[in-house]
Symmetry: C2
Subunit: 206 residues, 2 copies
Amino acid sequence: MNNVQEESSRDQKKYRRRLQILEIARGIIATKGLRSLKVRDVAEAAGCSVGSVYNEFGDFDGVILTVNRETVQALTLRLVAVPAADPVRQLYGLATTYLEFFAEHANLLRSLFEHRMEDDRPYPDDILQMVMDAFALMHPPLVRLLPNADDVQIALLSRTLFSAVHGIISLGLEERMVAVPPQMLRQQVEQFLDAHLGGLGILPLR
Amino acid sequence: MNNVQEESSRDQKKYRRRLQILEIARGIIATKGLRSLKVRDVAEAAGCSVGSVYNEFGDFDGVILTVNRETVQALTLRLVAVPAADPVRQLYGLATTYLEFFAEHANLLRSLFEHRMEDDRPYPDDILQMVMDAFALMHPPLVRLLPNADDVQIALLSRTLFSAVHGIISLGLEERMVAVPPQMLRQQVEQFLDAHLGGLGILPLR
DNA sequence: GAGTTAAATGAACATTGTTCAAGTGAGTAT
DNA sequence: ATACTCACTTGAACAATGTTCATTTAACTC
């Protein structure tokens, strides 16, 4: 039972620390990259022992995967908030929103796409599914714009188009590779959509 | 001076072992992924001490980067061999050749695009330049197909288009993500080019 | 308050990248 | 042929980092 001095139960404390660990890990990944994430740094910053990190997440991959899971969730929140009134604007909105999110959280996105599991353990299915779902968000507007097309074809097209946008953005923001200026990148993505939608018989925005 | 028993000078031995180390490292990356590459494994397989690996490559990143360098070189060789007679076919050829190469050497390509340097050391410029140059191989055919376009615009378009193809392929081959069947992926890439070239006012192949 | 149990601890261990003092041997000079 | 030199090799030791677990702690229960 709770008394006055203890403001939180054991579970609440545990949960708070879990969040704290995740926040610290996310901060390190975001600012210094996944490769700079170290168990001891996280434990020290969270004011606990390394054992506690393992107790909470099983292994270190568990911390990374949880951060990655939350990254997809945050991305999805941003993407589903794109207005759906005009399907063409929605497609542009999805692309530029992805660009904005990627630019704001480049290292978190890289952690999501580049992290490899130890040995041959499989990547968690739920994360993969969330990524696939996010990439499928172009499906509804495409259905509206191509009412005569096969639904399976559109599903494929949706993934293809989003993957293409992903490629343009992820390589464009790759500072290793003489990065493209961010404003130019937006223009690049939009021009890409102009041409591609045009080629699909859809009247583009410009 | 050489005698009969020693078939090679010191330098030749050194060079041979360098090649051997690279071959072993490449094999491990290709079959088990970059994360499974270990100095001791490489040294043991090459029949030398870990110190010799360091002596030859400076640090372990040096081995990885040399493998990556050779990967881009091999990729470039394949891409420049694409026939240039018909610029439209050349564009399709570049894309499908990239797909083939990526499918054959998925882990080597991932090593190239996903490897991050320790700390904040910069990625070697020559490798970045080679990647950029490879991605610029769509420039000449695009110039021929869009004679009235600004050359800078075409340079941008070339990189955008290749980046898009890269995104489609790298995510499509990502076995983590319920990979797309390989033959379907080729069709996907070609349909992508159909639509995009069409949108650019270029008559596509199909 | 005593007992139970989940959680925390951190030292010890395992793995892996890195260094370096000592040894080796191919080339060279005499 | 012998001695010398110096670049290269070696592998043990070290450093950094992920992982485990016997012990301790403290929250909860009765």
